[in-house]
């Protein structure tokens, strides 16, 4: 089969990348100034004895290489350590955050991809028409807006209509049990604004790149051949242009999807979405190294894995790529 080799090599490369990321991740936090104990030391009445006890408890008195080996061993067993701040297992905390982040960011990002590629195709097809100008200029405008500005504008403009904070109505269920349907409806409403912010900030790039990629493809000789063969415009676009034009987009899509897991720190912060982005921001403030380390790890792994998927998709889309 074509490229079994290619697939295996790509997977091997991805695993190696992840291992290197883990290692860098570990030592990064060991060279940063300050640790949990020095942070706790700001607590009044903390005695040197207490500090020492804490250092020993967290294993910070051991040599770095030993800490590294312990870290690797525990990681293999799915243990990402205990959060300094909340004393709960990091893996469990991050899992809960991920569960909240993924639906919101996925809807925003996938929406942006669909809207962006769709408008890009239409723009290129109706090149230089009024709708092309409107669509392209809108895309540039939204692409240029900083996330926080767009988020705040949406919050101000639509704040009266839609919930602006959190993932669920905190008072729901206070006056009696809430049905599952009602709960999902509530979450759905809360999800609209952050997902929309994300969609609007991301889609412009897809529109612009898809449009230029389409225009480039439309100038290819094989598109002229397709016209000469008597194919209708619609059929030419569908069969001979879109797939070829999608090739440059594949990488961009993969990189964007990689961030679905990483969350969108700004968006989560603006709309108080209890996801992984917020959690990481909080962890930075609290110097919660295990939490940060876990978060970074998940980020790195997801980016590597999704890049791998992009490579494989690219391989499927373009027969010219071989071993």
């Amino acid at each position: 089969m074509r490229g079994a080799d290619y697939v295996i090599r790509r997977i091997g490369f991805a695993l190696l990348t992840i291992f290197i990321a883990i290692t860098i991740n570990f030592f990064l936090f060991r060279v940063l100034p300050g640790n949990i104990v020095s942070d706790l030391a700001r607590v009044p009445h903390a005695t040197p004895q207490l500090r020492h006890a804490l250092t020993v408890e967290f294993g910070l008195d051991r040599p770095k290489w030993e800490q590294y080996l312990i870290y690797l061993r525990e990681l293999v067993h799915g243990n990402m350590g205990i959060s300094f701040a909340s004393q709960q297992p990091v893996s469990q905390l991050l899992f809960n955050d991920l569960k909240n982040t993924i639906p919101m960011v996925a809807i925003g990002t996938l929406g942006a991809i669909v809207v962006g590629i769709g408008t890009g195709i239409l723009s290129a097809w109706r090149r230089s028409s009024a709708s092309d100008h409107v669509s392209t200029n809108l895309a540039i405008a939204f692409y240029a807006f900083p996330t926080q500005f767009l988020g705040l504008m949406l919050l101000i403009l639509l704040g009266g209509l839609l919930p602006t904070s959190g993932m669920e109505n905190p008072y729901a269920g206070v006056f009696g049990p809430q049905s599952t349907v009602a709960r999902f409806q509530d979450i759905g409403l809360h999800l609209i604004l952050p997902a929309l912010t994300l969609l609007l900030t991301l889609y412009g790039e897809f529109t612009l790149i898809m449009r230029s990629s389409m225009l480039e493809t439309l100038g290819e000789d094989y598109v002229l051949t397709a016209r000469a063969k008597g194919l209708s415009d619609r059929r030419i676009i569908a069969r001979h242009v879109v797939r070829n034009a999608l090739l440059p987009i594949a990488t961009l899509v993969a990189l964007s999807i990689g961030w679905i897991v990483g969350g969108a720190i700004l968006v989560e912060y603006i709309f108080s979405w209890p996801g992984i982005g917020q959690a990481l921001w909080l962890a930075i403030n609290q110097r919660d190294y295990p939490m940060l380390q876990g978060g970074f790890l998940i980020l790195a792994v997801s980016v590597v894995v999704l890049n791998l998927l992009a490579d494989l998709a690219y391989f499927k889309l373009d027969p010219r790529i071989s071993e």
């Binding site: 002229l224 051949t225 000469a228 063969k229 008597g230 194919l231 001979h240 797939r243 070829n244």
Partner: protein, 364 residues
């Protein structure tokens, strides 16, 4: 009656900075069934533009006037809607540099089968005893293909692919190789595949745009032979666009030489080669390397005139080696200089040239 009549074809391109470029200026020619006609000239003289205009394939910034009559009907009269039904079914095209004429992400056989699925194929429609073109042409392999292929004009995907496989065999590529992608083909194979694709709907006229350019000489010879063989076998008429005079001599019965958007000399290949009338044609021959001659290859100094400005007098004047007084003031028109049967009427074998020297009676 001629199969294809091109009458006073003009093409203007509107330029981005305003202004227009008159790329094709009053081109007319006739093509009989099964006839092979060459359009010769240097780059930018309007030969490719002419044949793209004939199929209505020019970009939106081009405006076209004139008629392209196919069996008496002007196919350009109704714009895109009137020309599309004729594409590939009546007029098919083999593109310049087949490298890029095939979509790189689709396999070859699918691209050949595509127009068959869209338009059907004469052989497939005629199955069960119709008068198929292939049967008339006596093409054994093609007729066999028609017999075995589909149930109706618009065949199923499987029938179309089967037919596409037969076409590949016809141009000398194993049908099984059709499952491969264009980048896995050599240049010659790609050109063969492009020819197979052009034959898919059994057109009456094949427009071939520099089909042998960018191929090495051996492959060039194979491709020209293939084109001639197919035309003869299936009674296909061919318009061959090329800058390569020897190829025209090998393939075509008649030819026209284009310069700066217009035809400056036309006639049978024989008369063009042996009783050349126009200085440009003569210089063009002198610029062709000759294996057996000792003479150096000459080049024609200068460049063609700009086509976005009106030209007074003869467009070839600045580069001509035999200028007379009238050349600077009066534009020479295409005039019959000799015809096979001695009559001056426009006919198949007419030899015409656009040069003042001919009016004076001198041989340039």
């Amino acid at each position: 009656m001629s199969l294809l009549e091109v009458r006073d074809l003009n093409v203007w391109f509107s330029l981005p900075g305003g202004g227009e470029l008159h790329a094709v200026q009053g081109v007319s020619f006739d093509l009989g069934p099964g006839e092979r006609f060459g359009l010769v000239g240097e780059s930018g003289c309007g030969k490719t533009t002419s044949i793209l205009a004939m199929m209505g394939l020019l970009p939106p910034n081009a405006s076209v006037s004139g008629e392209v009559r196919l069996a008496g009907t002007d196919i350009l009269a109704g714009g895109e809607d009137s020309v599309r039904p004729h594409r590939w079914t009546d007029l098919a095209m083999v593109f310049q540099g087949a490298m890029n004429a095939l979509n790189p992400v689709r396999n070859v056989i699918g691209q050949i089968a595509e127009p068959i699925m869209l338009h059907g194929s004469v052989s497939m429609a005629a199955e069960g005893g119709g008068a198929s073109m292939a049967a008339e042409g006596g093409g054994a392999s093609m007729a066999a293909g028609g017999g075995g292929a589909g149930r109706g004009g618009r065949g199923s995907a499987a029938a179309a692919r089967k037919r596409a496989g037969e076409l590949l065999e016809l141009v000398g590529i194993p049908a099984a190789a059709g499952a491969r992608f264009p980048h896995e083909f050599s240049g010659g194979m790609r050109q063969r595949a492009a020819i197979a694709m052009a034959l898919a709907c059994e057109p009456k006229v094949l427009l071939a745009d520099e089909p042998t350019t960018a191929l090495d000489v051996m492959v060039q010879a194979q491709i020209t032979d293939l084109l001639v063989r197919l035309c003869e076998e299936f009674g296909l008429a061919l318009v061959l666009v090329t800058h390569d005079l020897p190829v025209v001599a090998q393939v075509c019965q008649r030819a026209a030489v284009m310069y700066a958007g217009e035809i400056v000399e036309t006639g049978t290949t024989d008369s063009l080669f042996h009783s050349t009338r126009h200085p440009y044609t003569r210089l063009l021959f002198a610029a062709t390397p000759d294996l057996y001659a000792d003479d150096d290859v000459m080049s024609i100094p200068g460049a063609p005139p700009r086509l976005d400005e009106p030209v007074t007098g003869c467009p070839f004047l600045p580069r001509c080696d035999s200028v007379v007084d009238r050349c600077a003031t009066e534009r020479p028109l295409l005039r019959v200089v000799a015809s096979a049967n001695g009559a001056g009427e426009a006919g198949e074998a007419v030899h015409a040239a656009a040069c003042h020297r001919d009016d004076a009676g001198g041989t340039p």
